[in-house]
Assembly symmetry: C2
Homo-oligomer: 436 residues x 2
Amino acid sequence: MNTTIKNRVGDQTTSFSTDSRRGFLRGMFVSVAAASVLAPIKLKADDAAILEEAEWGVKLGYPTNKHPYGIPSPYEHNNVRRVTELLSSGDMYASVAMSPLHEQEGIITPNGLFFNRSHGGTAVVDPDKYRLMIHGLVEKPLVLTLAQLKRYPSESRIHFIECPANGSTGWRGPQFNNLQFMKGMMSSAEWTGVKLSVVLADLGLKPKAKWMLAEGSDNSEMGRTIPIEKVLDDAMLVWGQNGEALRPDQGYPVRLLVPGWEGNLNVKWLKRLEFGEEPWHAKEETSKYTMLQPSGKGIRFFWPMEVNSIITSPCPEKPWTDLKKGDMVEIQGLAWSGQGTIKAVDLSLDGGKNWQEISLKGLILPKSWTRFSYMMKWEGKPLLLSSRAIDDAGNVQPTINQEVAKVGVESVYHRNSICTWEVKANGEVNNVHVRG
Amino acid sequence: MNTTIKNRVGDQTTSFSTDSRRGFLRGMFVSVAAASVLAPIKLKADDAAILEEAEWGVKLGYPTNKHPYGIPSPYEHNNVRRVTELLSSGDMYASVAMSPLHEQEGIITPNGLFFNRSHGGTAVVDPDKYRLMIHGLVEKPLVLTLAQLKRYPSESRIHFIECPANGSTGWRGPQFNNLQFMKGMMSSAEWTGVKLSVVLADLGLKPKAKWMLAEGSDNSEMGRTIPIEKVLDDAMLVWGQNGEALRPDQGYPVRLLVPGWEGNLNVKWLKRLEFGEEPWHAKEETSKYTMLQPSGKGIRFFWPMEVNSIITSPCPEKPWTDLKKGDMVEIQGLAWSGQGTIKAVDLSLDGGKNWQEISLKGLILPKSWTRFSYMMKWEGKPLLLSSRAIDDAGNVQPTINQEVAKVGVESVYHRNSICTWEVKANGEVNNVHVRG
């Protein structure tokens, strides 16, 4: 078993030297300080919003204790998770609610907008009745209450979770003309819990233990098998998400966190961890979550999410239709890799013919969303905007043709090929396939 | 004017060399891997939670699309912000809703639990009617719509915001026997917006501009004056909080962010920025938010929040009453400084007689909450738990006596002296004053 996974299109890694490109490309960055970002703004003499006192300036707001647990502005009512019948059981118990990435700022997803995939609906677990069994090849098998689990020393780490089906609607062509349904099966949070290596040092892992089974307590009895190297490397039992208890749709009170690996491995409403010598071949890792290859064979136990990126602004939901020729505008987006830390992001304005390395911004953390940014002047001419991410393990995001040549189009999962937005002269943005 | 503010009890900084202490104290850390964290757990043979299938294991959960904007578990209904009549107008329009720090994990506060101080209730601003005026000593004064403001290149940064009145209930003695009302006037988030230095490079700041007035659009017309050095250093106009739009109670759609400085400077529902040669002496910086000294004089324009810390576990709301003698337990808490980055935290088990440096954990960022942690064996003996933070500017958290000698007890604001929890033999925890 090899848990050090290379990018499937690894031959790309020899095509350039990142370091020499950095120097060459530095001169191409547009300096924000040097360019006027805003075009001259003409004030309308009759702009009521300027001339008249707003209602909220003359009347009291609502009392400070009205919402003990706060809620978003009513004007943000469209910023919600959305499901599609295409990817749901009719009753929406087995479904995926996708995160509105076009409204996502920074690298933390608010808990209310964290994508939610469940196989049998959202379980509402009573924390007083919650028990976690840890057994199999450990010296001290036991059953823990939630309070006992929380006695272990905690850690907090920022990681994304991505469903391996993220982007799956695009294998044969653009199926949805928006960002939310194309890439919204992922989100990011600051997770709090205990590393499994700490728990296992306490319980005593037997040398023969090579695999861990994680099983959920919900009706779908989600089960996944994970190699012991990954368990001991960075897997965690988490109870906190962005400063509060996990939400029910994220596995309250306890889920497994397997940083960078398939979302379904991060088992929710965790009931049981068993340690053994062989993998379990659980239902969800045989009937589902396998990769069908062109040869007709399916690959099992293909866990880490590949290096990937997507431009979040502009996107079909955030077009440039309000921009005028000559306006400065920021192109930005998210890059991530389940196999390391983002090292660089390249941008193409012409669908992948020419690339330039652009800036990363904000925190750059392993197995975490990383923001990229490029300031440009919009000349009102059509563009084909593509981003390409590179991680510190040397993985490079492949073109569609490279990915298809390698894995065909029958695999629902692990699509990480380069995405392209067509920007029309009128500023409209469409999801297109540029095969590269 | 001097914007490089030293800790008020700066003479403490000479009392030790941090580097030499680190080596000396390293041996005192309890190794988690070496000690058994959990006492032997005896399973009850009749534990129904183990023997019987839980209801959520045999029935479907709720549909995935039930809450397009997610909500917490119903079992977490007590984890909310709370107000007290002591610090509110009777109608709760001018009040402060305090954050439940005893339930806080990590260094991100979920938006629903972010503390909320307002002077005239929570304004609900229509983003389409929102305008921001920037005028005074700038070359290109203008009025921006929200969309125009968002065209500037954005940044995301993690910072706490703390009301200068945080801890004010403790000047003369412990007024509340809990953490939430003692230190809950602060929270932390990942903020997204544009640096004011970028906006001002675009608009052209005139050399004579030495001060900025920030004014809110709500009925209280909150106004504060900020020196230009701080404005150009790291102040931001922010529209995003933890990945989504600001909540109304945090100033939707735009607030000022002044990292590390008094919470009230982070003006919400921002309407106007004016640049001038002299400070404005606005209502809230003359009638309020001044520091009354023992001499009878009040200090104005005292902006940065001091180095500070608090133990969040245990605390009066999270006692050790369920622990047994010999159990391992984690002491943890939050340290922060508006004047730099946390460099070290010391822990005392005996109310400040003896101190030892303990571990910091997780991300350590400037002007940001930093977690500290210490694993210990609970012997069932009374303790006086105190934490003391040191920042990289050399500021050391003072004792109560040191603070009172310097500033008296008449100042409502900027209390940062060392806090102490009394842990009783039965595990109960109380807020006590140990003057040091």
